[in-house]
Symmetry: C2
Subunit: 206 residues, 2 copies
DNA sequence: GTCTATAATAAGATAGAC
DNA sequence: GTCTATCTTATTATAGAC
């Protein structure tokens, strides 16, 4: 239920966003959306063309929001490594999973080019954004020059997405954090002599 | 539809396994299972206590199978790094996703301790198995001693699980492969002087 | 615009014939 | 053991009143 100062289409989109995050597309019924939005059937079919159309509006907004949240950190201050670390360590609703990434496990979303497009574009943008930062870090000598920026970026995004899987399997955020710490220790700037000078993980001994 | 030489409960379990992989728990109806198994309602409710009970049998078998598949590679020949690499590069139905990991995005599975248990135990086993191999590799000097085996193992599992997300988002296996190559380049054995001597990725220059 | 019928189809389970 | 009704509720959408 949302404040009465918000328009009905707005309430419908927000309710759909929440339910898509909690239960996915297949697990979300129009009825559940209407109940949460506090609206009747007629409102939904007046403003939208049905469940897929409403879901598309919700997915687009969620994708946009995720992009903005990531950009706030990735475009922030600090060295390339520090910005990647800030992205990886930023506060997350780990046990709820990624509201964008989870849609890739939804059969009806993956099968629809229209519903899948915002998901694909967002993850693709994130990968490219990270790749640029990694390459910038390589020029500064922060990351090993032998690495491939695009590949490392894919690894970073995958580790985050897979971290959600581990956390939701065990019901604990610890597994997510563990995977992130492992990745950060692998990414940690190394001096030319081989060992990591920067203590970025709990595992680095004195 | 399965061969007539297979028992009805067996056909029901196999049909459920397929549908759980394709559509998840929420997206799979008893009706769809019965049609694929070529059985009537009575058969299902005679052998199982309903959808959750049948799904549990299916999930347990899938989890067991995944464990055996992983062990076949992780317990195989080769150095620790080679076994990790073999695991990461092993043939996969990338676009279908992980039949075990995908269940963590199913709201009704995550909420049920019984249905979630096989998923949790399997991913936990995999993490522990990989952690042991990484630690073995550290003793041999194959992996940097500063790394934490448990953390690296979590990163490995997460990268695979997240790789499926990337691939399903774009509809292409290329993103999965890219993330895996990135991880392998980060894990690649380094000589004490700093650069990677073993060519494990397409990105390593001559 | 929003609401409440109404309706056709599907989900999930039970009963009882064979 | 397997099958086909039967049943209750939910899903998704339409129609038409207000």
């Amino acid at each position: 239920m949302y404040s009465v100062c918000v328009s009905t289409p707005e309430r419908l989109i927000e309710a759909t966003r929440e339910l898509l995050w909690e239960r996915g597309y297949v697990g979300t019924s129009p009825k559940a959306i209407l109940q949460r939005a506090g609206a009747g059937q007629g409102s939904m079919y007046h403003h939208f063309n049905g469940k897929p159309d409403l879901a598309l509006a919700a997915i687009r907004r969620t994708a946009e929001e995720m992009r903005a949240t990531a950009e706030a950190v990735l475009g922030g201050p600090g060295s390339p490594y520090e910005r990647v670390e800030a992205y990886l360590r930023r506060e997350r609703d780990v046990l709820r999973g990624c509201p964008v990434g989870r849609l890739t496990m939804d059969p009806d979303v993956v099968v629809s080019d229209e519903l899948r497009a915002p998901v694909d574009e967002t993850l693709d943008w994130l990968r490219e954004r990270l790749a640029g930062i990694v390459e910038e870090g390589q020029e500064r000598g922060e990351f090993a020059s032998a690495l491939d920026g695009e590949e490392i970026a894919a690894t970073i995004v995958a580790t985050v997405q897979g971290g959600y899987v581990l956390a939701r399997a065990s019901g604990s955020t610890a597994d997510f954090d563990m995977g992130i710490r492992g990745l950060l220790s692998l990414l940690a700037p190394r001096s030319p002599t081989g060992d990591s000078p920067t203590s970025t993980s709990t595992s680095t001994s004195a």
